[in-house]
């Protein structure tokens, strides 16, 4: 009896030996500008070649501007980094979705969108949010630059097997409660190190009912629970999403491939090292109040009081509240914001934009708020324009940008000022993540849009849709 993780693992073992990590074959290697230059340089120094450029795809996303792309880069160092990736890809025969390509976008949006991400694969990228691709029943995890070099050179990675953790989500998500709220709720329950050393498999009714976009949001933030990867068994929703995409199996092989993919699920009696159950119907929109993704509350609840919190949390809570400018035992639903950011590999897909646009339709962004929408890929940008979503955002006063990581990690010019408070659909509320002294509150796309319009956090379940 095997779990889905066990099955994918077993199918990719190239070499095993007692007392050593197993050598796993890697089916897809995604590359971006920030974590790859030193890896290519390492190859050159050792006179090694890229073993499988055909299984390696690159995009630019982390440090690029999301505005005025027709002009030269303002940031010389970032420009050099992008130029280095161009040269490395050209030298080694790796396909690059460069700034002028219609496929360009955030690496974890582009992979699935192009059909590169497929069930049963092993996928790596020098980025912790590689866990996103687990939504397709692929074993996908983030690696460091030394490992990027290792995969470039050998198309394999030495790996020690992680443990199995099942998160079973029963029931259905109530109105106004999104997959983002679900994963924030999971992290709130198990903690930012609750998944350390484990691969999380998400199962249950609420996961089955979820779109691929929603599943990607959930798997994306598995790393925020410390997990090695997130996994969801593929089903008709998965197959429907992939069919016809650029790199999906051809029609002639489709039926046969899907039959093979159907076996990618945990056996009924398989054992998990750990299991957690969650009732989706009890969830509500979540907002983080602190500087770790586990520091969150339901929009209608009070933030904790450090004095009555567990002793091992007290100091973290006090430091976080001081940084965030939040009082103990207060509510967030009247808390004013300065900025709103809708984007990132967590929440920049078409469905996320639809949810945000539903809220924004017919309203104006509050006069004290600067709000922006940054689509995850140029393909999503065009689709959103065709569907009229872009028009809704622009009419409401949101900035409508080109694709990239943008203010999720603020490597480009999209940065929070010191003390600025932001409703953000991204994945990390660490100190300074979106800019030194910036205060990040993680929320769903509809909650971010509602906060941008109201000028403060609100409960989107009570929104008057126009």
């Amino acid at each position: 009896m095997k779990t889905l993780y066990d099955k994918i693992w077993d199918a990719h073992v190239v070499h095993e030996e007692d007392g050593k990590p197993s050598l796993l074959y890697i089916d897809l290697h995604l590359v971006h500008e920030v974590t790859s230059p030193q890896a290519f340089e390492g190859l050159r120094m050792a006179d090694r070649r890229v073993r499988r450029p055909d299984l390696t795809f690159a995009t630019v996303d982390h440090a690029i501007p999301t505005i005025n792309r027709d002009r030269p880069f303002q940031d010389r160092i970032a420009a050099k980094q992008v130029e280095t990736l161009r040269r490395n890809c050209a030298d080694t025969g790796i396909e690059l979705y460069d700034l002028d390509r219609p496929e360009q976008g955030i690496v974890h949006v582009v992979g699935p969108e192009q059909g590169l991400t497929q069930p049963g694969m092993t996928i790596v990228c020098g980025d912790s949010h590689t866990s996103t691709h687990g939504a397709f029943g692929a074993l996908a995890f983030g690696i460091g630059t030394s490992e990027v070099e290792h995969v470039l050179a050998t198309q394999t990675l030495p790996q020690s097997k992680a443990k199995n953790l099942q998160v079973k989500v029963n029931g259905t998500l109530p109105f106004g409660v999104s997959p983002k709220d679900l994963i924030l709720g999971v992290i709130n329950q198990i903690g930012t190190d609750g998944g350390t050393g484990h691969v999380i498999e998400y199962a249950g009714e609420a996961i089955r009912a979820m779109s691929m976009e929603g599943r990607m949001t959930v798997c994306n933030m598995s790393i925020e629970a410390g997990a090695k990867a997130g996994l969801i068994a593929p089903d008709e929703t998965t197959f429907g999403y992939l069919r016809g995409r650029a790199f999906a199996p051809a029609e002639a092989e489709w039926g046969e491939t899907v039959e093979r993919w159907r076996s990618l699920k945990t056996d009924p009696d398989a054992d998990f090292d750990l299991s957690v159950e969650i009732d989706a119907s009890e969830l509500a929109p979540f907002v983080t109040w602190g500087t770790s993704p586990e520091m969150s509350v339901r929009i209608t609840d009070f933030v904790p009081d450090p004095r009555s919190s567990p002793e091992n949390k007290r100091r973290s809570y006090e430091l976080a509240m001081e940084y965030m400018g939040i009082g103990p035992a207060t509510r967030l639903d009247r808390l004013a914001i300065d900025r709103a950011f809708i984007g990132s590999c967590t929440n920049s897909r078409i469905e996320d934009l639809r949810e945000a646009a539903k809220v924004a339709r017919g309203y104006k962004v509050d006069g004290n708020v600067k709000a922006m929408v940054v689509p995850g890929s140029m393909q999503i940008k065009r689709q959103a324009e065709d569907e009229g979503l872009a028009g809704i955002f622009v009419d409401a006063g949101f900035e409508w940008r080109d694709a990239g990581c943008s203010m999720c990690l603020a490597m480009n010019d999209d940065v929070l000022g010191a003390g600025e408070r932001c409703a953000s659909t991204s994945n990390r509320n660490f100190e300074g993540r979106q800019g030194r002294g910036g205060r990040t509150h993680l929320v769903s796309p509809s909650m971010a849009a509602a906060a941008a319009i109201a000028g403060h956090f609100v409960d989107v379940r009570e929104w008057k849709f126009k």
């Binding site: 190239v14 074959y25 090694r48 160092i77 394999t156 410390g226």
Partner: protein, 190 residues
Amino acid sequence: MTVAIDRANIDTDQIIPKQFLKRIERSGYGRFLFYDWRYAEDGTPNADFPLNDPRYAGASILVAGANFGCGSSREHAPWSLYDYGFRAVIAPSFADIFYNNSLKNGLLPVVLSEEAVREIIDRSRLESYRLMIDLERQMVADSRGFASSFDIDPFRKHCLLNGLDDIGLTLQYEEKITAYESRRIATARS
């Protein structure tokens, strides 16, 4: 010498803020280590931050709270710690990717119990405190009676002690990789 940063969940964004990830080099990150904590907005050193305390100048062991290195996979985090002069980090737990990345760069992550870490944090404030880490024997000890053993995967320990090149090791199995690739193509076509 040991310096303590008494916080849990120290993430890689704190260890090396993103504005320093645009460089294409592998070295020279030590001066950016903990940048936003180490320096005020105008670039002057923050007197309160332990790394700026002259008593801890030249420290080679960092001790910190649980879940050290969580967040981004940036290998710039261990690069900056190593370049600054650290050779080991002691914490009750580490995030997986950071732990991996550290071992690949000669930076030893040592997991000790919460109590042992608390003890070291307290003692690190004592005058001329010295802590020793013996990887061979997997022991952490000081001259004042503190001693604790730690676990490390035997293969990783072997690689670290011998400075082995992972890629070189894997390439010994190149034939098996090629065989795996042919097998995969055959299955896909059957």
